[in-house]
Subunit: 135 residues, 3 copies
């Protein structure tokens, strides 16, 4: 089973969409299996992170912005704006794809885990994530 989700991201940062993925998994009506997510972009990525305390996500975003800064004089790929080349680098060191087991008809996430779309561009974007559910 395949379904494409469209996620609107208001700005740079981590945007949780666990609920949208969970809805797809429940509608598949499969007791055991594997749910794979794939983001169809190279300037945004996927990550599983703590969904309890927002300070962890802010520190994560700050860390990556310090290590992959805008306006680095080494960049040559600069035509699409100062946030474009950092976006590709951030996508390369995080994840384009994630696979989460399905147990008892639901995502087998740990207690504090949430699924996040990590938007690396600064302006609002519409992002497509393909969800594959298999046995």
């Amino acid at each position: 089973m395949l379904k494409t989700l469209t996620i609107q991201t208001p700005s740079q940062g981590l945007h949780e969409f666990t609920h949208e993925v969970r809805d797809v998994v429940r509608s598949a009506d499969l007791q055991e299996g594997l749910c794979t997510l794939f983001i169809q972009h190279t300037s945004a990525s996927l990550t599983i992170q703590e969904n309890a305390d927002p300070s962890a996500r802010r520190d994560l975003e700050n860390w990556i912005n310090r290590h992959v800064p805008e306006n680095d004089p080494h960049y040559t790929h600069t035509m699409e704006g100062p946030d474009d080349m950092p976006s590709h680098i951030k996508a390369a060191i995080t994840s384009t794809t994630l696979s989460i087991p399905i147990i008892d008809g639901d995502l087998a996430l740990g207690t504090w885990q949430g699924i996040f779309l990590w938007e690396h561009r600064t302006s609002p974007k519409s992002r497509r994530v393909v969800v594959h559910i298999g046995a």
Copy 2:
């Protein structure tokens, strides 16, 4: 087929558990397929690395500790100890999930590849890794 492994980690660093995964794959009795691992935590991660020379793993651990240090004054998420926020960042730039093909009833790892749980906290932990095996 699904099985949850519990891995005890004595301390920060790379802990090989190839053998435990191989046992699950062999018990599945499947000639060809895919073995997917998912760690149910956000302060530990998974990686496939060289299992021959322990100096490579030490250098890897040292590199990540220099780039994601404890007690960085930028961190605000500090209530759970100095090793907590670095753990989330390390998990984000490594892997929560891995998929390894099964060929001839066994994991199709390269000659020097081992499967490691990368513990990012400093104290001993009990970690859960869900193993999914599909055709």
Copy 3:
């Protein structure tokens, strides 16, 4: 279905092999499914990146070489040459495995996405990537 691709890499950097993966997917003759790639090496990795402008790939390669340099005096694993330890670190912070959905019998890549083998060693290598295709 499983197939092992052999990719010759002339030098360090990003080498696109979308075409070779697409050929395997088309020969599988499956309308919907999941294509998983696994690289059987610890000094090269996989990534999905923009395949339009080569300047993005050059900047990406330059960024990783600045953050994971050769001849770092902290390295102790140095017997296999100055490019060996950086290769393991680069592999750990990028991807060993990727899963791409199959829609309408083809890889469901976004408009600008290509599949790349990221060679981290400096000399020419022959690399094996196992392709698994499942429903």
